[in-house]
Symmetry: C2
Subunit: 248 residues, 2 copies
C-alpha cells in the first residue's frame, strides 16, 4: 500500500523569484503530509530552484550538456530545495530522507529512464519517507539531461507497484476549455483540445504530457491543488482522476 505524492514546483516555490520557497504553499502541503500515516514517497518539482539553472546552462529533458559544473549547478539548487522539504518534514515528525536522482538514475540513448528502487523500498520498510526531486541524470550520448518530477513519479509508481498516485499542481485539476475541472479522464481524446496547447509551456512538459504519462500507468492518478492534499491522502478523490480504460 504505497502512495506516491508529487508536489509541483509551482506549489512549493515562488516561481518568479530565484530560489525562493512559497511558504504558504509549502506549509499547506507539508502539514497534510505530516498528518498522513502510511507508506509514502514524496517527489517534488524544481520551480524557481531548478528551472532557472537548467535554462541558464542549456539543459532540458531531451538536450543534454557535458559541462560538469553546469550539471552540479542545477543539481545543487535542487538539493537546496530538497533540504528545505526534508527539514520541514522533520519538524512535522515525518522521517524524511533525501533521495537525489542524479545519484541513482540514468538514461539510455533512447531516453528510457532507469531508476533502481531497492533503496526506496528499504527506506519505506524501515519507516522512512523518501523524498525525491526533479534533477539532472546521466544520459547516454547526451551527458546529463533533466528528469522531471513527473517522470520520477511514473517510474516509482511502476517499480513500487504503488496503489495511489497524487499530483499536487497549481491548478485544482485538469481544466476543460471553459476552465472547469474535468473530474475523470480515461482517454486522452477526452481532453486533447483543452490541454493540447500547454505542451510547450514548461521545460519538463505541460499538462498534456502529464495526462498522457498518467494514462499509461496501471495505478489511478489524481491531479489537484494544494488545498486538497489532505483529502487525497485521506483516501478521497479530489480534482481530476486519470485512469486508462480497462481492457475488457
Amino acid at each position: 500500500m504505497t502512495t506516491v505524492l508529487k508536489l509541483g514546483g509551482s506549489v512549493i516555490t515562488a516561481k518568479d523569484d530565484l530560489e525562493t520557497v512559497d511558504d504558504e504553499g509549502m506549509e499547506t502541503v507539508l502539514d497534510a503530509v505530516g498528518a498522513f500515516e502510511g507508506d509514502l514517497v514524496v517527489v517534488h518539482g524544481g520551480g524557481s530552484f531548478g528551472h532557472h539553472h537548467a535554462a541558464e546552462h542549456g539543459v532540458s529533458s531531451t538536450s543534454g550538456i557535458h559541462d560538469a559544473a553546469g550539471a552540479v549547478a542545477v543539481h545543487g539548487a535542487m538539493k537546496r530545495l530538497n533540504d528545505e522539504v526534508v527539514t520541514r518534514l522533520h519538524e512535522r515528525g515525518v522521517g524524511a530522507v533525501p533521495v537525489h536522482p542524479l545519484s541513482a538514475a540514468s538514461r539510455a540513448a533512447d531516453g528510457a529512464l532507469a531508476l533502481p528502487t531497492a533503496q526506496v523500498g528499504t527506506m519505506l520498510g524501515e519507516g522512512f519517507t523518501p523524498v525525491l526531486h526533479g534533477d539532472v541524470v546521466a544520459h547516454e550520448g547526451e551527458g546529463v539531461t533533466v528528469v522531471s518530477g513527473d517522470d520520477l513519479v511514473i517510474a516509482l509508481a511502476r517499480s513500487l507497484d504503488a496503489t495511489r498516485v497524487g499530483l499536487c499542481s497549481a491548478v485544482p485539476g485538469v481544466l476543460d476549455v471553459d476552465g472547469e475541472v474535468v473530474t475523470r479522464i480515461d482517454r486522452f481524446d477526452d481532453v486533447a483540445r483543452a490541454v493540447g496547447g500547454s505542451d510547450a509551456t514548461d521545460v519538463t512538459g505541460g499538462m498534456a504530457a502529464k495526462v498522457r504519462k498518467l494514462l499509461a500507468l496501471d495505478t489511478p492518478a489524481h491531479v489537484f491543488d494544494a488545498s486538497s492534499v489532505g483529502e487525497f491522502l485521506d483516501g478521497g478523490e479530489p480534482g481530476t482522476r486519470i485512469e486508462h480504460e480497462s481492457e475488457s
Copy 2:
C-alpha cells in the same frame, strides 16, 4: 579500463578538527587526480566530517538508527565534504559529479550491500568522474547504517570490472611489525600479526578489515599515501600491492 581510487578521510580532512579540510592533503591528491586521463571513479572517506556525527547519533556499519534527522545529519556532513572535493576537482578541469550512496544503495538484513552502478557507468561513458563517499544507507531491520568508503570501493570494483584499485591512506602502505611497508600481500596470514591489532580502532574497520576485503577482489589493489597518488595513476605500483593468490 576503469580505475577506482579511494581517498582516505584522514588524508583529505584534519581528523581532529570538526568538519575541517586538510588543505595540504586534499590539494596533493586532487592535483594528481587532475593530471590523470582515463576512466576514474573517486570514493572518499568521512574523516572529521562523517565520524563525529556518526558517533554522536550512535550509528555504525552494523548498528543502525531509525532517527531520520540523525541519518540526515551524518549524510549532510558527508555531502558538505563531497561538495568540497567536487568543486576542487572542477577547478582542476575534472568533470566531477557527485554520487551520494544513501540515494542509491541499500543493505539487506544480513548486511549485504546492494549498489546499483548503471548511473556510474553512464557517467563514465559520458566523460564524467563520479565522486562517491562514505555515507549512511537504508538497512533492512536496522534503519540506516554506515557504509564505508572501503565497502563502496569493493562494490564498485566488482560491478564495474575495474582494472585497478588504489587506496590512498595516511600511511605509505600496509606496515609490518617493524613499521616497514610490506610490498606485497597475497594471503592474509602474511600480515595477520602486524595488522590484527587495528581492527577496533576505526568505526569503519582498520587495516585488517581493509586487507581482508581487498584480498577477496579479483582486481589487484594498492595501498599508499598522498605522495604516491600520481605514481599509482601513472600505472606505477607504490606502497603495498594486495592480490589474492591465483588458483592454479
